[in-house]
C-alpha cells in the first residue's frame, strides 16, 4: 500500500510539474520550451493509448503512428478544402467536426485492420500492423491533392469554442487536459471487468477462452479504443505543427511510440508519460550537442532494453512488489 501511495505521489508531482513549468518558460521569454511541452503532451497521449493494448493487452502494435497521422490528416484535409475549394461536404475549419472526424476515421481504420491483424499472433501481429501502416503511408503519398510526399501545410487551425488554438498557451492547455483525461480513461478501462479480461488474455489467452470470454472481441474493442485515442492525439498534433506529411506515419515513428511506452514502463499509468518526457528531452538535449546524436540515443535505447526491465517505473518500484 505504501508504495502505491508513493507512486501516486510521483504521478501527481510529475503531472503538476508538466502543468506548471511550460507556461512559466513561455512567460519568461522561452516560447520554444512551451512548444516542446505541447509536442510532448500530444505524443504522450499517443503513448498512453498504445500502452492500453501493448502494455495491458500484450498486443505489440508496430503501426500506431498511422493512427496519429490519419488523425492529423482529418484536420488538414477539411481545412485544405475550406481554403482551396472542392469536396464541399468536407470543407470546414470547425474543430467540433474535425476532431470527431479524426476519432471516427481512426476507430474505423482500427476496426477494419484490427479484425484482420488480431487473427495473427506474436511477431506476425507486429509485422501486419506495420504493413497496414505502410499502406496508409503510401496511400497518402499517392494523393497529389494533399501534397503527396511533400506534405500539407495547414493554414488555419481548428476553431473551437472557448479555446483559441492559435494561442500556444491554449493549445498546450488543451493538450495537457486531454493527456490527463486519456490517462484517467485508460486507468478506468484497465480496472474495469473489461480491463481484467484484457490483461488476463495477455498472459494466458487459452484460459480466458475456456472461461467463456470471447478474447478476440475484447482485444478488438481495446484496439479500436486505442486507435481512436491516437487519432485524437493526431488531430492535436496537426494543429500543433500546422504541417503534416506521410513521414509522420513512418515505421520508425511507430517504433518511437513503442519505445516511449517501454522506456517509461509498460502497463503503468505514468509510464508512457514519463517515457515521452525522457524521450523528448533526451532527443532535444542530444541533438543540440551533436549531429551524431543518434549514436548515444541508440545506446540509451539498447541500455534501457537490456538492463532496465520494466522501464523507469520498474526501477522506481521496490523489489518484490507487484504491479499496480
Amino acid at each position: 500500500m505504501i508504495s502505491l501511495t508513493r507512486r501516486s505521489w510521483l504521478t501527481l508531482a510529475v503531472m503538476a510539474l508538466l502543468a506548471v513549468l511550460p507556461p512559466v518558460f513561455y512567460l519568461t521569454g522561452n516560447p520554444y520550451y512551451l512548444d516542446l511541452a505541447t509536442r510532448l503532451a500530444i505524443l504522450a497521449i499517443a503513448a498512453v493509448s498504445l500502452n492500453l493494448i501493448l502494455g495491458y493487452g500484450g498486443l505489440v502494435s508496430f503501426g500506431h503512428a498511422a493512427f496519429v497521422g490519419l488523425g492529423a490528416y482529418a484536420v488538414g484535409i477539411p481545412a485544405h478544402h475550406w481554403l482551396y475549394g472542392g469536396l464541399d461536404f468536407l470543407a470546414t475549419t470547425s474543430g467540433l467536426v474535425q476532431i470527431p472526424l479524426a476519432v471516427a476515421v481512426c476507430a474505423l481504420f482500427a476496426l477494419v485492420t484490427g479484425a484482420i491483424c488480431l487473427r495473427t499472433k506474436g511477431v506476425y501481429f507486429i509485422m501486419i500492423t506495420m504493413a497496414f501502416a505502410q499502406m496508409i503511408y503510401y496511400l497518402i503519398v499517392s494523393i497529389e491533392e494533399y501534397g503527396g510526399d511533400d506534405g500539407l501545410v495547414i493554414d488555419t487551425r481548428s476553431e473551437l469554442p472557448v479555446v483559441n488554438l492559435d494561442n500556444p498557451l491554449h493549445l498546450f492547455g488543451l493538450s495537457y487536459v486531454a493527456l490527463v483525461v486519456a490517462m484517467l480513461l485508460v486507468r478506468m478501462i484497465v480496472r474495469s471487468r473489461f480491463g481484467m479480461v484484457l490483461q488476463g488474455a495477455k498472459g494466458n489467452p487459452e484460459r480466458m477462452v475456456t472461461l467463456g470470454f470471447n478474447v478476440y472481441a475484447y482485444r478488438l474493442t481495446a484496439y479500436v479504443i486505442s486507435g481512436a485515442m491516437s487519432g485524437f492525439a493526431g488531430a492535436l498534433l496537426g494543429n500543433f505543427t500546422t504541417f503534416i506529411s506521410p513521414e509522420m506515419m513512418d515505421w520508425s515513428r511507430s517504433g518511437e511510440l513503442m519505445f516511449m511506452v517501454i522506456l517509461g514502463g509498460a502497463a503503468t499509468t505514468l509510464g508512457p508519460v514519463l517515457g515521452a518526457i525522457v524521450f523528448i528531452v533526451a532527443e532535444e538535449a542530444l541533438s543540440s550537442f551533436t549531429i551524431y546524436w543518434h549514436l548515444p540515443f541508440g545506446l540509451m535505447l539498447m541500455a534501457v532494453v537490456l538492463f532496465a526491465r520494466g522501464g523507469l517505473m520498474g526501477m522506481l518500484r521496490g523489489r518484490g512488489e507487484d504491479r499496480e
Binding site: 501493448l54 487473427r119 495473427t120 509485422m127 501486419i128 497496414f132 503510401y138 517504433g255 543518434h294 535505447l301
Partner: protein, 307 residues
C-alpha cells in the same frame, strides 16, 4: 507492350528477389532457430556494403574485396550476437524489436562517422562493367547477371548446407526443438552464434552485390529490412523454401508494378492520374499482398511445423 522489355523487367525482378532472399534467409534463420527478431539485420547489409567499398579501394579489386569482406561481416554478426542478441534471447519480441531498433541508430551513425555522409560508389572491374547482348533488343548489364548468378549460387549453397550437412541437421533440429538439441550435448550457444554470423554474411553479401549498382550509403539497410520482413512473413517464418519463393514473388511484383502499373492504369484513368497514382500503388502492392496472405493464412504460405 514490348516483349524484350518484359524479359528485362522479369530479370530485374528476379535480381531484386534474389537480393531480398539473401537478406531474408538470414533473417528467417535467426528468427526460426533463435526466435529472435532482428530489426538491425538491414544494418549488417549496410555494413557489408561499406566494408566492401573500402576494401575495393584498398585492394583495387572488387572480387577480392568481396572475399575479404564476407568473413568480416561474419565477425561483425558474431559480435552483435554476443553483445546484443544473446542477452535478449529469452525476452519477448517487443524487447528484441526495440533493442535492435537502437542498434540500427548506433550502426547508422557509426557508418556516418567512419565513412562520412556521402556514400561510396564502388568501382567494378572492366569485365563486369559492360553489357551482354542476348539479341538485337535484349541487352543486359553484365553485373546484373552476376548478381542473379551469385544469388542463385548462395541460395543453392544454403539449401545444401541446411539439408545435407551435419550443421544443417542441427540447425533444423534446433529450429523445431531447442531443448532436444542441447540435451544431445550440442553446444547450443556456439550453434546460435554460427547461425547468426551466417545470417550476417548473407545480408552483407547482398549489400556488397548492390553497392556497385546504387552505392554504399547510410540508411540503405532500413529500406530493405522492412521488405525482407514482408518476405519472411509471407513465406512463413523459419521456412527457407518459403523465404525463397516469397522473395522472388515480392521482387517480381515490385519491379513489374513499377514498370507496368502506369500503363495498366492508363486503360481506365487519365494519363496524368495514372502517372501519379501508379508509383504509390506499386509501393503499396507488397503490403497489400502481405495483408492478403496473412488474412487467409495467419502463419504465412509455408508455416513452420510445430514449434
Amino acid at each position: 507492350m514490348d516483349f524484350s522489355l518484359l524479359i528485362i523487367q522479369a530479370l530485374n525482378g528476379v535480381q531484386l528477389g534474389l537480393l531480398l532472399f539473401l537478406v531474408a534467409s538470414g533473417l528467417t534463420l535467426v528468427f526460426g532457430i533463435l526466435d529472435f527478431v532482428n530489426l538491425a539485420h538491414g544494418s549488417l547489409y549496410m555494413m557489408g556494403a561499406f566494408i566492401c567499398a573500402s576494401l575495393t579501394f584498398l585492394f583495387g579489386s572488387f572480387v577480392l574485396a568481396v572475399l575479404v569482406a564476407l568473413p568480416l561481416t561474419g565477425v561483425l554478426g558474431f559480435l552483435v550476437e554476443r553483445f546484443v542478441a544473446r542477452p535478449l534471447y529469452d525476452r519477448d519480441h517487443l524487447d528484441q524489436v526495440l533493442g535492435t531498433f537502437g542498434l540500427i541508430l548506433v550502426l547508422d551513425t557509426l557508418a556516418h562517422l567512419i565513412w562520412g555522409p556521402a556514400g561510396i560508389a564502388v568501382p567494378l572491374p572492366g569485365w563486369l562493367q559492360g553489357q551482354i547482348a542476348m539479341s538485337e533488343t535484349l541487352v543486359i548489364p553484365t553485373f546484373r547477371l552476376v548478381i542473379i548468378g551469385a544469388g542463385l549460387g548462395a541460395a543453392a549453397g544454403l539449401f545444401w548446407l541446411v539439408n545435407h550437412t551435419r550443421l544443417g541437421m542441427l540447425i533444423r533440429a534446433g529450429a523445431s526443438n531447442r531443448t532436444m538439441v542441447s540435451a544431445l550435448g550440442i553446444d547450443i550457444q556456439t550453434l546460435f552464434a554460427l547461425v547468426f554470423a551466417l545470417g550476417a554474411m548473407l545480408a552483407g553479401l547482398a549489400g556488397m552485390l548492390i553497392a556497385p549498382i546504387t552505392e554504399a550509403s547510410i540508411g540503405m539497410g532500413n529500406n530493405i529490412i522492412i521488405t525482407a520482413f514482408v518476405v519472411i512473413i509471407v513465406g512463413g517464418i523459419g521456412s527457407m523454401k518459403g523465404a525463397f519463393i516469397a522473395a522472388l514473388m515480392i521482387g517480381l511484383i515490385d519491379t513489374m508494378g513499377r514498370s507496368f502499373l502506369d500503363d495498366l492504369f492508363k486503360l481506365f484513368m487519365s494519363s496524368d492520374a495514372a502517372e501519379n497514382s501508379a508509383p504509390a500503388v506499386s509501393a503499396m502492392l507488397i503490403y497489400i499482398i502481405m495483408a492478403l496472405v496473412l488474412s487467409l493464412r495467419p502463419q504465412g504460405l509455408f508455416p513452420p511445423r510445430t514449434r
